[in-house]
C-alpha cells in the first residue's frame, strides 16, 4: 500500500491552506449554537460528561489502552503540543521505547531457542504427538505475530502520529464549524483489557497446574513471555478497533449533518405531518437532529465533502498501518481456534479420560479469540457501512434549484461503484461476514483433522491391508 499513500497525502496542505474563519459567517452563529446543541445530544446520549474542559488531553477516551501500548513500546510516547496536535516523542522516550523493543526481541530469540531445545520439553508432555506439534506451531505463530507487530509498529511510528494529528485536526475543524466535540467513552476497550489480562493469567495458571514436577525457570520465562505476547497482540487489536470506532464516530457525525437535509427532515421542518413519523425508523436509533435550513446546504456540503475525503484518507491510513498485523493475527487466531476445537473434540469423544484442565484451557482460548475476532469484524463492518452510507444519505437530499442538484450530483457521480472496504492486505475484506467465513473455514479444517485422526486410529488398530 505504501507506494500510493502519497497520493492522498498531498491534499493535507491544501486543506490547511484554507483560512477557517471564512467558513464561519456571522449569520451563521445562531445556527452554530443550534448545531452545537443538537450535535451534543447524540454524543451526550452515549458519553457521560458532555461539558468537557477545553484543554483536555487528546484521546483521553482511549488513554488506558494508549498507555499500555506506550509502555510496551508499541506506540510512540508522543508529546502533546497543543490541544489539537501531538508532536514526535522526546529523545528519552524514544530511547525508552527503542529499549523495550530490544528487550522484546531478545526475549523472542531466547524463546525460539528454548523451543527448539529440550529445555521446554516439559511443557509439552501431556498430549500425543500431533497435539504437541499443534502446540508448537501455535507458540511459533504467536511469537511470529508479536514480533511482526513490534516491527510494523516501529516502522509506522511516523504514520501513526500523522493519523492521530489528522484526527485531531479534523476535530478542531468540526469544533470551529459546529462547536461539537465528538467524544465517546470507549468502555469496551478497558473491559477488553481486563478480560485479556484475566484470561491470560488464567491460562498460565492452568498450564502451570497441568505441568507436573518442578518447573524450571526457562519454562517460567517462556510461559510468562508467551502470555505477555498474547496479551499485547490482543491489546493492539483492541486498539485498532478503537481507532476504527473513532473514525466511525466522525463518519456518523457527518452523515447526521447530511441527514438534516434529506427530504423527510425538510418536510418535517415545513411542518409536513408525515415526515417525522415516516422518518423515525430510518435506520438511526437515536433522536434525529433538527432539520437544517436549506440555505446552508452549499457550504455545509463543501465542508462535508472535505471531511469525507479526509476521513477516507484516515481510514486508508489506519488500514495501511495495521495491514500485516491484522493478517498475521487472523491467521494466528484461526489456527488457535481450529486446534482448540479439535482438542475439545478429541477430549469429548475419547472415552473416560476427559481432563477438566484441558477443557478449561480450550474454552479460555476460544473465548478470548472469538471475542477478539467479533470485536474486530464488528468495528470494521460498522465503519465501512458508515463510510459507504454517505452517498446513500446524500441521494435523499432533494433540492429544487439547479445548482444544488449539481452539488449533489458532483458527489454521487464520483461515488458510483466506489465502495471502500477495510482489507487485510488486499487478501480479503474484513467486515461482518469475515467472522462467518473464518468459522466455516474452521469447520472444514476440523473435518480434515478428524479424518486424519481416523486414519491414525485405523492404522494403530488394524494394520491388515483390508483398509488400504
Amino acid at each position: 500500500m505504501s507506494p500510493n499513500t502519497w497520493v492522498i497525502e498531498m491534499p493535507s496542505q491544501k486543506s490547511c491552506s484554507h483560512p477557517y474563519p471564512r467558513r464561519i459567517s456571522p449569520y451563521r452563529t445562531p445556527s452554530l449554537n443550534r448545531d452545537a446543541f443538537t450535535r451534543d445530544s447524540p454524543a451526550a446520549a452515549t458519553s457521560g460528561p458532555s461539558t468537557r474542559s477545553h484543554n483536555h488531553p487528546v484521546f483521553e477516551d482511549i488513554r488506558t489502552i494508549l498507555s499500555v501500548l506506550k509502555a510496551s513500546g508499541l506506540m510512540p510516547i508522543y508529546e502533546q503540543v497543543s490541544n489539537y496536535e501531538v508532536g514526535p516523542p522526546t529523545k528519552t522516550n524514544e530511547f525508552y521505547s527503542f529499549f523495550v523493543r530490544g528487550v522484546v526481541h531478545a526475549l523472542t530469540i531466547f524463546n525460539v531457542y528454548s523451543l527448539f531445545t529440550p529445555i521446554s520439553a516439559q511443557l509439552f508432555y501431556s498430549y500425543r504427538e500431533t497435539d504437541n506439534v499443534n502446540q508448537w506451531i501455535e507458540l511459533l505463530l504467536c511469537i511470529l505475530t508479536y514480533t511482526l507487530t513490534v516491527f510494523v509498529c516501529a516502522r509506522n511510528t511516523k504514520s501513526m502520529l500523522r493519523i492521530m494529528n489528522e484526527i485531531l485536526q479534523l476535530d478542531e475543524e468540526v469544533r470551529k464549524q459546529f462547536g461539537a466535540n465528538l467524544n465517546q467513552n470507549f468502555g469496551f476497550s478497558v473491559k477488553f483489557l481486563v478480560g485479556i489480562a484475566a484470561c491470560q493469567t488464567y491460562i498460565i495458571v492452568l498450564k502451570i497446574y497441568a505441568v507436573d514436577g518442578v518447573i524450571t525457570p526457562p519454562s517460567y520465562i517462556l510461559l510468562a513471555f508467551y502470555a505477555v505476547q498474547n496479551g499485547l497482540t490482543a491489546t493492539y487489536i483492541v486498539f485498532a478497533s478503537a481507532l476504527l470506532r473513532i473514525v466511525y464516530i466522525r463518519f456518523h457525525f457527518i452523515n447526521q449533518l447530511l441527514n438534516g437535509y434529506t427530504y423527510g427532515q425538510q418536510q418535517k421542518r415545513k411542518g409536513g405531518g408525515g415526515g417525522g413519523r415516516r422518518h423515525r425508523g430510518n435506520g438511526q436509533h437515536h433522536p434525529t437532529p433538527n432539520p437544517a435550513i436549506m440555505e446552508h446546504f452549499p457550504e455545509d456540503s463543501l465542508f462535508i465533502y472535505r471531511m469525507h475525503n479526509k476521513l477516507l484518507r484516515i481510514y486508508k491510513g489506519i488500514n495501511d498501518c495495521c495491514n500485516l498485523i491484522l493478517v498475521s493475527f487472523l491467521g494466528y487466531s484461526f489456527y488457535t481456534v481450529t486446534t482448540n476445537c479439535y482438542n475439545l473434540f478429541v477430549q469429548i469423544t475419547a472415552k473416560g479420560m476427559v481432563s477438566p484442565n484441558i477443557l478449561q484451557w480450550c474454552f479460555a482460548w476460544l473465548c478470548l479469540h472469538v471475542s477478539l475476532l467479533a470485536l474486530l469484524s464488528r468495528s470494521c463492518g460498522l465503519t465501512t457501512r458508515e463510510a459507504n452510507a454517505t452517498s446513500q444519505i446524500l441521494s435523499r437530499v432533494y433540492a429544487s434549484s439547479r445548482e444544488y442538484q449539481n452539488i449533489i450530483d458532483k458527489f454521487l457521480t464520483k461515488s458510483i461503484k466506489q465502495e471502500v472496504q477495510f482489507t487485510a492486505y488486499g487478501f480479503f475484506a474484513i467486515d461482518n461476514s469475515t467472522l462467518f467465513k473464518i468459522f466455516s473455514a474452521v469447520t472444514t479444517y476440523l473435518v480434515i483433522l478428524i479424518q486424519f485422526k481416523q486414519l491414525e486410529d485405523s492404522k494403530v488398530e488394524d494394520p491388515e491391508p483390508d483398509q488400504t
Partner: protein
Amino acid sequence: MAREQSSEAAAVQPLLEQFQQLFFISKIVGILPQDLDKFRSRNVLEKSRNGMIYMLVTLVVYVLLYNVLIYSFGEEDRTLKASQSTLTFVIGLFLTYIGLIMMGTDQLTALRNQGRIGELYERIRHVDERLYQEKCVLDNSTIGRRIRIMLGMTIIFELSILLATYIKLVDYTQWMSVLWLVSAIPTFINTLDKIWFAVSLYALKERFEAINATLEELVATHEKFKLWLRGDQEAAAAPPLDSSQPPQYDSNLEYLYKELGGLDMGSIGKGSSMSGSGKNKVAPVAHSMNSFGEPIDPSDKAGNRNPMASNMVHESELGNAAKVEEKLNNLCQVHDEICEIGKAMNELWSYPILSLMAYGFLIFTAQLYFLYCATQFQSIPSLFRSAKNPLITVIALSYTSGKCVYLIYLSWKTSLASKRTGISLHKCGVVADDNLLYEIVNHLSLKLLNHSVDFSACGFFTLDMETLYGVSGGITSYLIILIQFNLAAQQAKEAIQTFSSLNDTAGLVGAATDMYNSSSTLHDLVTTTMLTPTG
C-alpha cells in the same frame, strides 16, 4: 375494479385489512402480542400488555410440552445412547432442540419489536397515500389471496407430515404418543411468522412495480401522444414501433397478449413499447398485477378506460418538464422510502431469518443423512423418525426448503424490481428527448443508483440466489463427508467386534454427528474458496 373503487374512496385502504385471518391465527397461537380489538376496529397494530403475557405463557407452555415430548420419546434413544458416545447424544439433542430455539427466536423477536411493526405498516400506508396522489393505485386484494394460499399450504404440509408420521411410524397404542402432535408446533409457528415477513415483502415488491408501471405508462402515453400529434413525418424520423411488423406476426402477438395477458410480469417493457393502443395499456396493469392466477378483466377495463384518459391527462405530461419533474421527484422519494421500509423490515426480522436459515441447513443435511442411515438399517434419533419413510422425508424436505428458498427468491425479486425503476426512468428520458428532462433524469438516476435495498441475515450473508448456490454446494459436500464418516464407522464395526473398536465406532459416529453443529455455518470453505465467484 380496484382502481375504480379506490378512485372514489377518499384514502387508500390500509394494507393490514388483508391480514385479518393471519392476524387472528397468529394471535391465537401466540406469535403477535399486539392488541386484538384495536386491530379489528382500526386495523392498527398496537402493543398490549395482555397480549405480551399471553404470548409468554404460550411460549413457556410450548417449551414444557416439547421437553415432555423429547423426554417421553427419549426412551427409545436409550439403546442409541448405549451404542454411542455422550457427544452423539448431546448433538442429537441439539438437533432436536434447534426447532425450539427457532421458535423461541421468533416469539422473542416479535415481543421485542411489537411496537415497531405497527409503525412499519403505518409507513407503508403513507407510501400508498403518496402513490395514490401520483395516480398509481394498487389493489391489496391479491395479498389477501396470497395469505390464504400460504396458510392453506402450510396447514396441508404440516398435517400431511404429522399424520403420516403419526400413523406410520408412531405406535399410537399408548396415550403418550399423542404428544407427538407437539412436534409440529415449532415449525408451524415459525412458518406463520415467516408468512408475515414474506407477505409484507411481497407488498413492497408490488409497490416497486407500481412505480415502474407508472413510469412505463408515462412512456407509452407519450409515444402515443407523439404519434397522434404528427403521424407521418414522425414515422420517417424515428420509425414508430408498430410500423415495422408484418400483419400476421403482429396478429400473432395480439393473440399472445390477449391470451397470456396476465401471465407474467417480466417483459412489460416490451408490452408497452409494443404500442398497439390496447396492448400498451394492458401491459402496465398486468405489470402491477401479480402473476398468480389473477383474472384478466381489470386489465381489459384499464385497456378501454385508459385511452381517453391518457389523451386528456397524460398527453402533456412528459411534454412540459416542470410538471413531470415534480412527479418524478415524488416517485423517486417514494422509491427511496420503500427501500428504507425494506431495510427496516429486514432489520426487524434479521434474527428469525438467520435462525431459519441455520435450521434449514441443519435439518436438510440431517434429514438426508438419516435417510441414508435408515436405508442402511442403522438406528437414528427418534425425533427424526420421519426419515424412515422416503415419501415423508421428501415432503418434509420440500416444506423446509420451500420456506427458505421462497424467502430468498422473494427478496431477490424485490431487489430486481427496485432496480427496474432506473431503467423505466431512462425510458422516460429517452422517449421525450428534451434537455431539461435529461438533466432531471440524470440527476434522479444518479440518486436511484444509490438507493439500495438488499436483504441480509445480520450482515452475515445477503439473501440472494448466490447464497443459495453456495448453500447447495455446502450441503452436498457435507453430506458426502458425513456418509464417508458413516462408512468408516461401519467398517470399523465389521473389522473388529471388540470393545476397543466399539469405542472407536462411538468416536467415529460421534465425529459423523459432530459435523452437524460445526457445519451450521452456511457455506464451508470449499464453497467460499471454490464456488463463490472469484474477484
